[in-house]
């Protein structure tokens, strides 16, 4: 989140509420998850770390507002972030070990666990799919949703493979 906010400030200094509006537009229906405080908390932390500088701007009819801009250190951080190639770790290893453990200890039926997981993922997929279909053509949020959908699909396919594997194990 910090990196995103820094990157958004790279173009020009902005108010906190402008930043939030831009984020919400990019996220589409997922933006609802973004509460108003989250942006300000992030900005506060960045200011404390010396990555952004805040300037108070007086307003005649309301309280003063802060306009945030990047510091030199902030610029460096943005550049470093752009060059970064790290990728969120998939959860498959953890789930796999869970199944192995369950099977070894005879705690439960691994296939039942897979099925339960699959139901959960399918429900999630249904929700994401519904949100994706509601997006107009060409929206950037739809692109984000498609990514999530494709990942879930991949996970579901892997779960199918898991189910086949553990069924075979049980039979053997």
């Amino acid at each position: 989140m910090q990196d995103v906010v820094l990157a958004l400030l790279a173009k020009e200094p902005s108010h906190g509420y402008e930043l939030r509006a831009r984020l919400q537009h990019a996220l589409g229906p997922l933006g609802d998850a973004l509460n108003a405080g989250q942006v300000y908390v992030t900005l506060g932390r960045l200011e404390k770390a010396g990555l952004v500088a805040a300037q108070r701007v007086g307003q005649t009819d309301r309280p003063d507002r802060k306009v945030y801009e990047l510091t030199a250190a902030g610029q460096d951080r943005v550049t470093a972030w752009l060059a970064e190639v790290g990728w969120a770790k998939p959860v498959s290893a953890k789930f796999h070990l869970k199944l192995v453990a369950v099977a070894a200890a005879g705690l439960a039926d691994p296939v039942a666990i897979v099925d339960a997981q699959r139901r959960e993922l399918l429900r999630q997929l249904g929700d994401l799919q519904g949100a994706a279909l509601a997006e107009p053509d060409g929206s950037s949020a739809a692109l984000l949703l498609e990514g999530a959908v494709l990942r879930l699909q991949a996970d579901l396919r892997w779960l199918e493979a898991c189910a086949r594997h553990w069924e075979r194990e049980e039979r053997a």
């Binding site: 989140m1 996220l27 229906p29 997922l30 933006g31 609802d32 998850a33 973004l34 989250q38 969120a88 099925d115 699959r118 139901r119 399918l122 429900r123 999630q124 997929l125 249904g126 929700d127 994401l128 799919q129 519904g130 949100a131 994706a132 279909l133 984000l144 949703l145 498609e146 990514g147 999530a148 959908v149 990942r151 879930l152 699909q153 579901l156 396919r157 199918e160 189910a163 086949r164 069924e167």
Partner: protein
Amino acid sequence: MTANAVLRAAGLRKEYGRGAALVRAVDGVDLDVAAGEAVAIVGASGCGKSTLLHLLGGLERASGGELSMAGERFDTMSETRLARLRRNAIGFVFQGFHLVDELTAAENVELPALLAGVSPRAARRRAADLLERVGLADRSRHLPSALSGGQRQRVAVARALVNRPLVVLADEPTGNLDSTATTDVLRLFDGLRRNGHTLVIVTHDSRIAATSDRLITMRDGAFVDETRLGGGARRLGSLAGLGG
């Protein structure tokens, strides 16, 4: 057992071959599809889901069990009565589109209506309405060869609806499509579901499966799992990997 089941199967079986080579493609399936319900049947290829769909559509004869459509048994019907049932109560959407190459989009949509004895004028009107609904009003005079995969499948969906069937049966409707075309077809099926059409979709594509109300998993010819979908307003943000 719901009282208002449109399509019902009980103890449905289909076997091929005999002796050691006996294959139980469908092995004791019970299914009730309520009016307005969208049911997806998923499973790996070869699990028997296509055969099940063919049995449900009366395209193949079951080895055992009962089938009924709107309360009427049809597993024992003659070929001719089955044909009448197919044309009046069932709409098919196939994986390979199965459009008639020589006929325009509109003529493909008209065909089942003409087969059902609808007057040419009425058939043309229905076809025009449906093509409008699937967003292909401007393509009605094109031959299938001039349409993209997604457009062809949309024509096929329009064709499935032309006789106002009780139930639409779809076999891998996104099977031959790329991602964009798949989205088109997903949106179309989602629309059908919302408009209260009764749908049975067999697929291994979890995306289209996830747009249904009920999701049935099939393995080795039998139902092994069932999930009701929708209803839960989830925090989409976390689903998309947006940790706080």
